[in-house]
Symmetry: C2
Amino acid sequence: MTYRAPINDILLSLNHGAGLAAAVQAGHYGDFDGDITAAVLEEAGKFASDVLAPLNKVGDEHGIKLDNGKVTTAPGWPDAYQRWAAAGWNAVSGPEAFGGQGLPLAVNAACTEIWSASNVAFGLCPLLTLSAIEALDAHGSEELKTIYLEKMVTGEWTGTMQLTEPNAGSDVGALRTRAERAGDGTYRIKGTKIFITYGEHDMTDNIVHFVLARLPDAPGGTKGISLFLVPKFLVNADGSLGARNDIHASGVEHKLGMHASPTCTMTMGDQGGAIGYLIGEENQGMRCMFTMMNQARLGVGLEGVGIADRAYQQALAYAQERRQGKAIGHKGDGMDPIIVHPDVKRMLMQMRSMTAAARTICYATAVALDVAARAKDAKVRADAAARGALLTPIAKAFSTDVGNEVAYLGVQVHGGMGFIEETGAAQHYRDARITSIYEGTNGIQSIDLVTRKLGANGGASVWALLDELAATIKQVETSNDPAFGTTGAKLRDAHAALERTSKWLLERLASAPNDALAGATPYLRLFAATLGGCMLAGEALAAKANGEAEPQRYVALARFFAENISVQAPSLEKTVTESADAVTGADAVLAG
Amino acid sequence: MTYRAPINDILLSLNHGAGLAAAVQAGHYGDFDGDITAAVLEEAGKFASDVLAPLNKVGDEHGIKLDNGKVTTAPGWPDAYQRWAAAGWNAVSGPEAFGGQGLPLAVNAACTEIWSASNVAFGLCPLLTLSAIEALDAHGSEELKTIYLEKMVTGEWTGTMQLTEPNAGSDVGALRTRAERAGDGTYRIKGTKIFITYGEHDMTDNIVHFVLARLPDAPGGTKGISLFLVPKFLVNADGSLGARNDIHASGVEHKLGMHASPTCTMTMGDQGGAIGYLIGEENQGMRCMFTMMNQARLGVGLEGVGIADRAYQQALAYAQERRQGKAIGHKGDGMDPIIVHPDVKRMLMQMRSMTAAARTICYATAVALDVAARAKDAKVRADAAARGALLTPIAKAFSTDVGNEVAYLGVQVHGGMGFIEETGAAQHYRDARITSIYEGTNGIQSIDLVTRKLGANGGASVWALLDELAATIKQVETSNDPAFGTTGAKLRDAHAALERTSKWLLERLASAPNDALAGATPYLRLFAATLGGCMLAGEALAAKANGEAEPQRYVALARFFAENISVQAPSLEKTVTESADAVTGADAVLAG
């Protein structure tokens, strides 16, 4: 069963749920012509269906091989990558000065969903290149940009991000990889990094590693970390490849999923130290990393959306085809397709509505990041930056939770066949599992939301968003469309719960921070349940207003989400505001 | 990391949460001496830790091999099985007339949890033998019992249950395997069964298959199904093994998890038909299957509990050891174990409290089935049978949902290491996935709960249970123990929501059955959230009253569950009672 990009759903979400059309209309996108979005996405969908989707299972079954420091990817993968890069897909939102197309991040976000849906282990490779490009573009010297940036933008070379070490995972500041000044402006890096995605592969002839390391005289913790560019092959002045650098894949992990993506242990310094070039200033590495963190986290959120949509499409097709039992009232012989059973419908609606909500939250994050970078007005840029910062942890954590939950339901719809690897539903379930862990675990996203995003400015970013959501809710209520069912009431309750809970957390952040941390995860869920519900309702209203074909489909989807997911908001509020003692006082239980 | 059976938790749950002590006290267990329970469980725990737990990963990595119709299990497995059976573990609750120990199902339920926790793919083998024993004991002729029963009770031979065919999964009535009368009282069976657990293996020298098939003149659907005993090797009059029967494993599945358990395609009739012996009467096969369904479903629920506890123990140990970051207020150098972080505490408390609630629901089901079979008084037996029937779908579905959810959190606590297969957390996550599918999907359990259990007697079984739960809630409230936090209020709200929702569903079952079916899954969750919360609160009260060591641990656990899980009941009520239209009207969305 292949994958088809849901172009209509994506366009409605992007333009109306996420607000791209309004931002273009307001002039925040300069001379970007919104009309080309559809054409770009159609082409992306075609490439994904034709080339990437068929390689998804091949990659899962074949995995990768490490032999004598060289990684071989699955059959067909290097060729697919080269075709993908040659078609310009790595450069969609890349800087025009270095060969990029300069399209909005929001358009690239939709593409990222499409790559992830068709083949998430493949899409992961360029995802990290994009982060590396961002870091280099923002903080690299002109000399480094001249040598490396264009080849990374076109995808001729890929990039890696090397943070993690055995004792430094969530706590990046604990890393120990050392960088010594070589005296000629370059550095020699020695150390071991783990969990390095696409740290070594055979899809391009060079790999540009971005490595966090510590200078001998650096202060402890995150304040003493510097960022270095460490190419696999050194690059000669004419751009040709020179000597092999002293950075090697010394191991690959045997993982639950993402089998086609090499997760490498990287060793530097076996031959005296890898040659590295400083990015930004010494000891400012964490600042450089933060630059690219929003986009990388958004990218992982989009993996969640993509996997969810793929799992949904597969489960829907199975439910339409597989016959078991009879619908109530079915007379006579023969069995019905299982999609007639209300419990199966419930699962499919849950899958589709959660995917749609996560999609729009991600796209809205991308639009905010775009406007923060592109708008002419400084206040508009600042507000958009705050919005993007607020939405990023929600986009990452909620969308990847959705990826896992939807893939779970995808297996369930398949019944016993779902547990058989041949069916393919299980691969989505396995692949999704890492997305709620990497690029900052979802617990860390929740803490980021509470402490840095809600807490940053007395909640101002949250109140601004709540005002917008209230306007949508009012529109639902005044639309008097009976097809919305109790959507308006559910969203109003959720909105009020989110507002009260935000205020409670702000107060506790100051007075009892552990109480605030204890509620971080249910708070993020409460936030997403409210936000996602309002966004889907907004899309439904837009679909009706714009004469979309069958707008009632979007009304029904928004209604399901509101009545099944947003409805949980008041319970989540109680969990946040009343169960902190049960969490912080858990020690006696956990000790016994 | 090995597994240790949580004997104290199990005993508190069994005796007080599940009511075994009271039932023994009331004389419903005859001369069973409750004091031996602890000794039995200590021994089971020892065997599980010493022999079974170390084979869990071996089995996962090695899997099984099918070669020329013969299945080879993982190294050490046949020996472990034989030691397990020789120690009497297969016979714990078996009939004494056939070599069993005649202990309560409730005691065996605790053992089943322990086998499942230590090695779920191993424990699955005897689980199916027990179901087969039950069917044979209840419906088999004296002659068949004489030949087969004792060897199945001791575990010398294992049993299989063969229902599923490619076009007959959830809809058993669609099966096509044919049985023809041979004229000598035996039958010749021809057909293909799929997904047959331990359909072939090398752990015993014979396997006794229980096969559903259809006679040539049988009516269609479930009314035309008969049950046959089909031995792998025919048995001579003296009990020795005779000719190989015409039933063979023709394939094994490549699965997401449970790698060590062979899931076979069984072919009968390549040499003229497998010789089968009728169990019960012709066309009464479904009745025979229903006899054993409660216990089999309970067994799968206990797999969920076992996997959850194993995942919890492993995550707890990791969280106590792994150091990342610092607790708020931590001064100076060094990192803290991650268990200090409130978000990690939340995950561990969620894992432990959900596991505890599922455990007690399962054990209470076992006590009800025991009392239904053992009590002297017919009314007591009938009430207990109704209680057991009511609880069975909840025990199966909720506990296996818990197994999956807890294993998910177990991976999450491990961070990136959780995604690496070597760590072992991922195996629990993979193994758990089938439990919410087999022995009737959890959707089917929910529909069973609504249509057959709630609907059976105008809700009488539910009202009787609600009365008991109300008494527990009152005790929590009158205990005035501040450590309960808002437990009393949360449980009272949940209880009221469950009562209202049950009434709504009963009404809809008659007037709009699709609406009732649409709400089945959230209703089961609402039921379990309420029931589990009340049971944990009851255990906490018992721990305080009985002078249990550190009873406040159980109070804290009950509180966490009430404030995090039971608290969802009012939202679930709204989903059931207000979103049926969103489910039944989903066709337009799902078509587009």
